[in-house]
């Protein structure tokens, strides 16, 4: 141990006392000095960077709006900004020092950029908040009036019934309203002087042209022009000379239905009408068929629908009957088929006729038929 100390001392003496040794000593000092300055400079830069980071951090927290934030961005990150100024000094650094300092500078830049971005998000959020608050309106104020009309209630229900039948594969046939006696009566097994003509007070144009009293006239046109299978409905206006009152009108609407094919049964008629009524009035709707007489069907039936007021128990609406008469129906009379050139031994069919006004009045609880033809705006706008 003692020997080692000695060796070092003697070597130092040797250096100090030789000329070369002196030189070495001086240059060491200079080097040392330079090194120390450089180290100070680096420390300085580090400090400055830290200061910038701290300053940016402090200033950022005080920033309240986008404009101030922008100014801050320029101050620290801009071309003439603090960070740029520091980075300009990088040139003075050695190749070894640069990455170290560069990394630090980048850290500071990243820090500031992220802080600004965070602040930006925050400010955007606040601004949105402020905007939303300032734009709040009284949502209970009424909307801007848009004018939208509506179909006549009769047309609404007619369309609904058309849809039901289209869905069941029925086509829609049209026929003339001013009609030959033949189509309205004769071809429907109502020859002249048939007593049943009495029940349909007819408007005549000439002896053999009239205003159709029933859409059944279209049955004949359809059967004359189309071979079975036939599946049609025919909605339209019909006319009877009934004076106007709450339940009568000289003009009203019917929807006729006709099916002709091989093997059509009365059970098919029942099933079809049940489906119609369930679609119109809901799945609980019940119908009832009563024997009746129409010259163009055999067997014939009147079809009642269970009163919705009392569900069949009897009430004021149904006059204590429990059921309301809604339509007439039956199996197409063989004479009618044959008159239209359809072999009644091969084909059979059913037909029905529905009074549209009655359905509409029931549906909307309209008690006076005249309202339908008066067309007052206060009435129309309710549909």
């Amino acid at each position: 141990m003692a020997l080692g100390k000695w060796v070092v001392t003697s070597k130092l003496c040797l250096v100090l006392f030789s000329g070369q040794g002196f030189f070495y000593a001086v240059s060491w000092r200079i080097k040392n000095y330079i090194r120390q300055r450089r180290e100070r400079m680096i420390d300085d830069m580090k400090e400055q960077l830290e200061a910038i980071r701290a300053e940016a951090d402090a200033e950022l927290s005080a920033v309240k709006d986008a404009k101030a934030l922008d100014a801050l961005r320029v101050k620290f990150l801009g071309k003439k900004g603090a960070l740029t100024a520091i980075l300009k000094q990088m040139g003075k650094l050695t190749a070894e020092e640069r990455p170290v300092m560069g990394q630090l500078a980048n850290e500071v830049r990243t820090f500031i950029e992220e802080a600004i971005a965070a602040k930006q998000t925050e400010i955007t959020r606040l601004e949105m908040q402020a905007r939303l608050a300032s734009e709040t309106i009284d949502v209970t104020l009424p909307g801007q009036k848009q004018s939208l009309g509506s179909l006549h209630p009769l047309a609404i229900v007619e369309n609904e019934i058309k849809e039901i039948f289209l869905g069941m594969g029925f086509e829609i046939a049209d026929g003339p309203e001013v009609e030959y006696d033949y189509y309205n009566f004769e071809a429907l097994n109502l020859p002249p002087d048939h007593p049943a003509r009495d029940t349909q007070d007819t408007f005549y144009i000439t002896d053999n042209i009239l205003l159709r009293t029933q859409t059944s006239s279209v049955q004949v046109h359809v059967m004359e022009n189309q071979k079975p299978p036939i599946r049609v409905i025919s909605p339209g206006r019909v006319f009877r000379s009934d004076a106007v009152d709450a339940t009568h009108s000289p003009l009203f609407h019917q929807i006729e239905g006709l099916v002709v094919d091989k093997g059509i049964t009365m059970a098919d008629l029942k099933g079809t009408l049940e489906m119609l009524m369930k679609r119109l009035y809901g799945p609980d709707c019940k119908i009832r068929l009563r024997p009746h007489h129409f010259p163009f069907t055999e067997p014939s039936a009147e079809v009642d629908v269970m009163c919705f007021g009392c569900m069949g128990k009897g009430c004021r609406i149904c006059k204590n009957e429990g059921y309301i008469e809604l339509l007439g129906a039956g199996m197409v009379h063989p004479k009618v088929l044959e008159g239209c050139g359809i072999d009644s031994s091969v084909y059979s069919g059913f037909a029905f006729g529905l009074g549209l006004e009655r359905v509409v009045m029931r549906r909307y609880n309209i008690s006076d038929m005249r309202l339908l033809f008066e067309n007052d705006y206060r009435f129309l706008e309710q549909f």
Partner: protein, 797 residues
């Protein structure tokens, strides 16, 4: 047809409550309208006997009666009726009684004397002297019936029947009789029908020595039966008969008339009675009336007959209109001694025509015209004579005259249970079918149904199926769903009309519905020229009134009426539309054409010509009608009713040169006629004619790839130059690269000379082949200015 339940019980021994009876009959095909229990408004009224009648101490017209009402102690009743005396049997309404009209009897005092009830008149019980011919109308009903004191009045005077009102369809005249309904009831309620064949003894005289009957027209009268009654004693019918007639809604008159009515109700066969004294030469001839012949019918009216009518005549004159009504002269009178009963079959159609032509539908004609039972004539005659004998109304002669020319044979219809089940969709056993048919009087033998003579409606297997089905119960038939493929869709015109309606709704208009028939006065209201072809209409021969007497040839007045109604009802503003038909006469004897029209009508604060035009344009665009031109109404004569429009504010719409409609403000004079205090606008579009012009197929066009160049032009021109003309010129001048011309300003006023206007367009141009150059646009503008210059429009400085 009103059915007496008491009468029915002669034939149906089963006791069925009224409500159940009615429901059952309705469901088997005899529809019950309602039923009514007689005297149901009369409650707590009993038979009483007056013990004493003394004058009221404080009144000179009231009397005080002590009345035995079978309650031990007599009760005291004060009455003002003059016709009572001690010992009389009277109806007594006790305290708490109810009488027709909601009258309730309370205890009270009349001039200080207590009265515990009321003695009743016929009227107070809801009866008339027809029900009790021996009673007086204005006094207490003095009962002469077999009854006991204290008995309920219903029982005592037979006021306890139930009357059921049936709606009998025209194919079932057999059910317009008690026996017919009894047959239906027997099958419906599965109980035997007990009908006895009528019979009587009668006197030995030979009717042929007294009366002769000849039928000259055997087509209109295939059968005529006659019977004779000697020593007629006219008087009231017995109570039971009067009660039954009353319950059937027939007024009792006297025994002979009542018998004819009774038989008609019972068997459905109208009967007629002649006084033999007034049958000249005692010779009845059934013949056609002679031209100009007259008869005074039973109702006192003189009827002029025509040769197609059938009459019952003697050798000199008609004594009855066959099947309709008898003559006054030969009717039954109080001194009638010998009566001829007629029971005949008349051909339905002629009875109907005669009754209609003479304007007298009678009970008899209503039955004959539906077709009666030709085989039943004799039975009804026998029944009438039997009743005469039973009632002691005279002495019937046993022999009768029955002239039978030709009776339609009964129909024979194949009976095929399998076919019936197949047709109905049922599985009804053959035995059940046969039992039903037999019950209805239909014989089934060797696969054949033989229709009874009273069932004229049974002709075909379908008729037999109905008989089976209605007794089986329509509601016992299963419900099946239609099978098989079906291909259904709206036709193009149905789709087109639906699009029109839906578009009008989305444009803020409300659908309306107006009558197809209008008043001829409507034409005057819209100022239509006298010689307008629209005045040539389909005219109803028998309208309800002039207001609904012609079929409309224009929908415009219907719309105006509805608008006027709304205005009158103070609706501030309305926008309405109707899709409906016009009825345009074609050739004589041919049906009219019935084209569909869209009619639009509106008035209100925000409504002006351009509002209406905007609505119409939007509609046309939606339904695929493009390239429309609007010309002044005076330049096109398609629509006569444009006379109802303001000449300066109306236009006819042309599409591909075809007039498809018009629009405009209603003429101020017409507005005034309709009572409007505001401007009114209307349009009509010919939907039917528009369909072939409509482009309903849509093809996608690629969105533009190259930018557009837009140039705005402000032009100065004379006020009278239509913008439409300028637009057309621009379109022509720009050519293929034109994308859109938009009018954005029309200005008159300051800086613009009087009679001039400034019109500004924005013209957008685009090419599908490349970006347009300014040079191309400039060249186009140059062409535009040139074209506009030709119209007298110049660029505004």
């Amino acid at each position: 047809m009103n059915l007496s339940m008491k009468w029915l019980s002669d034939y149906i021994k089963k006791d069925i409550p009224a409500a159940e009876f009615c429901a059952g009959m309705t469901m088997s095909g005899s529809k019950v309208e309602c039923y009514e229990t007689e005297g149901s408004e009369v409650k707590n009224v009993v038979v009483g006997q007056l013990l004493s009648v003394v004058p009221h101490e404080n009144s000179d017209h009231l009397v005080v009666c002590q009345v035995d009402v079978g309650q031990g102690e007599p009760i005291q009743i004060v009455t003002g009726a003059p016709n009572v005396s001690a010992g009389d049997i009277v109806p007594v309404a006790l305290v708490g009684a109810e009488l027709p009209g909601g009258i309730k009897i309370k205890k009270g005092k009349l001039r200080g004397v207590e009265s515990c009830g009321m003695l009743c008149s016929l009227g107070e019980l809801g009866l008339t002297t027809h029900d009790f011919p021996y009673a007086i109308a204005d006094g207490i009903f003095l009962i002469q019936e077999d009854c006991r004191i204290g008995q309920d009045i219903h029982e005592a005077i037979g006021l306890n029947d139930t009357s059921v009102e049936f709606e009998i369809t025209s194919n079932r005249p057999d059910c317009m009789s008690v026996v017919g309904l009894a047959r239906e009831a027997a099958v419906t309620f599965d109980t035997p029908l007990c009908v006895e064949e009528p019979a009587f003894t009668g006197t030995d005289e030979d009717i042929n020595e007294i009366l002769k009957v000849d039928i000259e027209n055997e087509v209109l009268c295939p059968r005529y039966a006659a019977g004779l009654v000697r020593n007629v004693k006219i008087g009231p019918s017995p109570r039971w008969m009067r009660e039954r007639l009353r319950a059937s809604g027939v007024r009792p008159i006297n025994n002979l008339v009542d018998i004819t009515n009774y038989v008609m109700l019972e068997y459905g066969q109208p009967m007629h009675a002649f006084d033999l004294r007034y049958v000249k030469d005692s010779h009845i001839i059934v013949r056609n009336a002679k031209d100009g012949e007259e008869i005074t019918t039973l109702d006192g009216q003189v009827r002029r007959l025509s040769p197609e009518m059938l009459v019952i005549a003697d050798t000199e004159k008609p004594i009855a209109v066959a099947g309709v009504m008898g003559g006054e002269y030969s009717g039954i009178m109080d001194d009638t001694t010998t009566v001829v009963f007629e029971s005949a079959y008349f051909e339905p159609v002629q009875v109907r025509r005669t009754a209609k032509k003479l304007g007298m539908r009678t009970d008899a004609s209503a039955r004959y015209e539906k077709g009666l039972d030709a085989e039943g004539c004799l039975r009804s005659l026998t029944r009438a004579l039997q009743l005469v004998q039973e009632l002691g109304a005279g002495e019937p002669v046993a022999s009768h005259i029955d002239v039978v020319k030709s009776i339609k044979p009964r129909n024979e219809i194949p009976f095929d249970p399998a076919w019936i089940n197949g047709f109905l969709g049922t599985d009804i056993p053959e035995e059940t079918m046969v039992r039903t048919l037999n019950g209805l009087g239909i014989e089934v033998r060797d696969g054949v149904c033989i229709s009874p003579s009273f069932r004229i409606d049974l002709e075909r297997p379908a008729d037999i199926a109905e008989e089976v089905a209605r007794i089986y119960g329509y509601n016992n038939i299963p419900s099946t769903v239609l099978t098989g493929a079906a291909n259904a869709a709206l036709t193009p015109d149905q789709k087109f009309l639906r699009t029109i309606e839906n578009t009008m709704v989305s444009l803020g208009c409300y659908g309306i519905l107006t009558y197809s028939f209008i008043s001829p006065k409507y034409f005057d209201k819209i100022g239509l020229p006298e010689d307008s072809r629209l005045r040539k209409t389909i005219t109803i021969m028998n309208p309800l009134g002039e207001d609904t007497s012609i079929m409309r040839t224009t929908t415009l007045p219907s719309m105006l009426e509805i608008l006027a109604g709304n205005y009158k009802n103070r609706n501030a503003g309305v926008k309405l539309f109707e899709v409906g038909k016009e009825y345009i006469p074609t050739e004589e004897g041919q049906l009219p054409s019935e084209p569909s029209r869209l009619t639009v009508g509106m008035y209100g604060e925000d409504v002006d010509f351009f509002e209406l035009k905007g609505t119409v344009e939007a509609l046309l665009s939606e339904i695929g009608i493009s390239d429309c031109e609007y010309v002044r109404a005076s330049e096109d004569n398609t629509f006569d009713e444009v006379c109802a429009l303001h000449p300066g504010r109306s236009a006819v719409i042309l599409c591909k040169g075809q007039a498809i409609g018009y629009l405009g403000e209603i003429h101020p004079a017409v507005q005034e006629t309709y009572g409007f205090g505001t401007r009114v606008y209307a349009a009509k579009l010919c939907a039917t004619e528009m369909l072939p012009l409509a482009q309903t197929e849509v093809t996608y066009k690629e969105t533009p790839k190259f930018p557009a160049i837009t140039r705005d032009l402000s032009l100065l021109c004379e006020d009278t130059l239509p913008v439409g003309t300028m637009e057309k010129a621009i379109k022509g001048a720009v050519g293929k690269i034109l994308e859109k011309v938009t009018l954005f300003d029309v200005y008159k006023g300051q800086q613009i000379a009087e009679g001039m206007k400034s019109v500004s367009f924005s013209i957008s141009m685009r090419s599908s082949e490349g970006t347009l150059t300014d040079e191309q646009a400039d060249a186009a503008m140059k062409r535009v200015l040139k074209a506009l210059g030709d119209l007298g429009a110049s660029l505004r400085e």
